[in-house]
């Protein structure tokens, strides 16, 4: 059972971020669901990215140096596969996919996908971290502008709130994740 505070945070983090890419449509995941679904949750820096063709699809494999592992045995670095990229002057956009940029600090919810990881729930599984020049504090947000999200409602899947809002303080977000990862999952299993 989620607490009101956790629900509030989940609603907040799911309403963050400027439009940046394209749309796919994905089921909405709150912070607890992201934690529960992820095989690994890491905080780190994207150190490199390389795109390549994979049977008609361009995929980008980004190497992320792990500064802190909050869930799972991720090791010192992980490789995250995202859809889309550029190869030989041809670009491909895979709508709603997480965007990982070399040099960027990120907080990632990852699921194992063969030899690499991928972001849970597409762009929902990637938080981008930057220092707020006004406060000096680090803040994190999801870039959900490229992703249409839907949640269960009385009439079935319904549109979730638009992607807008302010970033979340990174320290607070990390504390919430630690609590959620440590808490027993509904039904008694992790």
């Amino acid at each position: 059972m989620r607490t009101p505070a956790c629900r509030a945070l989940s609603a907040l983090v799911l309403s963050l971020g400027p439009a940046a890419a394209h749309a796919s449509v994905a089921a909405e995941m709150d912070l607890a669901e992201l934690c529960r679904s992820a095989d690994a949750v890491i905080h780190g820096i994207v150190v490199s990215a390389e795109s390549a063709w994979e049977d008609g699809v361009i995929a980008t494999r980004s190497t992320v140096r792990v500064a802190r592992s909050l869930k799972g045995a991720a090791g010192d670095q992980v490789v995250v596969r995202t859809l889309g990229g550029v190869v030989g002057g041809i670009g491909q956009i895979a709508s709603g996919e997480a965007a990982l940029r070399p040099g960027e600090e990120v907080l990632l919810f990852l699921e194992a996908a063969g030899p690499a990881y991928r972001a849970v729930g597409m762009a929902q599984g990637a938080f981008h971290v930057r220092r707020d020049p006004a406060t000096g504090q680090k803040a994190a947000w999801q870039e959900l502008g490229g992703l249409a999200v839907a949640r269960p409602g009385p009439r079935g899947l319904e549109a979730a709130p638009a992607a807008r809002g302010a970033p979340v303080a990174l320290d607070e977000l990390l504390r919430r994740i630690e609590r959620l990862v440590a808490a027993p999952a509904p039904g008694g299993s992790r």
Binding site: A19, A27, I90, G121, L157
Partner: protein, 269 residues
């Protein structure tokens, strides 16, 4: 008083910004060079096919008809020259782009073996030239393995036509529109059908990108390769004035010519 029009234009709130074009800088790995070419098709009609297997959730031809209607909606305004050609169905249609070809623009349900995020309901792939923004291929994949689709809103299903109309907007080069009424709003509604039709903002976009009285837009001069830099997708400033004018009398417009630009569906392949 002569400053009033400018003042009104500047006073348009962010929530009422007009349509947004996708560019060569919109990808999560942007094209080199930093020049943002809007994505657009250069030749009409734009052909598309639907995988012959259709949707396991929707019997008969209803799913194919809904997909056709979704594309036709964007070609319906009299002010656009955009045309699609429905090439019918193809068995086991491939998704993605092969530089050596051949390629087809496809709509396909993946009923088993969905390899991307399980939470993704639909994923659209758009392939383009970094030098010009010319669109080379576009495919819409629908996650039939984990979600149920329907041709009418229901308690447990996703409205197919609303979803594909929204995705078709990406297929022709549009990004999300901040106007909640727009078909290209990021949270195109499920359980509702209004996204099946276009607002005046959507029509202004398709008519500016693909005007009726002009040939398909020429390819821009190739940008020099190399360098870096990236930028987020934004409003094309050259198109903003016309779209702002359209906002003044915004209303939802139903397509008048659903059959335009839509050929007869072929036999299942």
């Amino acid at each position: 008083m002569r400053w009033l029009p400018l003042a009104l234009a500047l006073a348009v709130p962010a929530a009422a910004r007009p349509y947004v074009r996708t560019t060569t800088q919109s990808s999560n790995a942007p094209c080199p060079g930093g020049t943002a070419h809007p994505l657009a098709w250069r030749a009409f009609p734009v052909p598309f096919v639907v995988d012959a297997a259709g949707s396991a959730d929707i019997p008969g031809s209803s799913a194919f008809d809904a997909v056709g209607a979704s594309f036709a909606t964007w070609a319906a305004p009299a002010c656009t020259g955009l045309r699609f050609r429905d090439d019918g169905t193809v068995a086991n249609v491939p998704v993605g782009f092969r530089p050596a070809g051949p390629n087809v623009n496809a709509v396909k349900w993946i009923e088993s073996g969905w390899t991307e995020s399980a939470q993704a309901i639909a994923v659209t792939f758009v392939t383009f030239s970094c030098d010009t923004g010319e669109m080379l291929d576009a495919d819409i994949t629908l996650n039939g393995q984990n979600f149920t689709f329907a041709v009418s809103p229901g308690p447990t299903a996703i409205d197919l036509q609303s979803t594909v109309t929204h995705e078709a907007g990406h297929v022709i080069g549009f990004d999300h529109n901040p106007d909640p009424e727009s078909t290209m709003y990021a949270t195109a509604g499920f359980g509702e059908t209004k996204k099946r039709s276009l607002t005046d903002d959507d029509i202004a976009g398709v008519c500016d990108a693909y005007p009726a009285d002009a040939p398909p837009p020429p390819a821009p001069a190739a940008a020099p390769r190399g360098g870096g830099g990236c930028s987020s997708a934004g409003v094309d400033p050259t198109l903003a004035a016309a779209a702002i004018a359209a906002l003044a009398a915004r209303r939802r417009v139903r397509p008048r010519r659903l059959e335009d630009g839509l050929g007869a569906r072929g036999s299942p392949g």
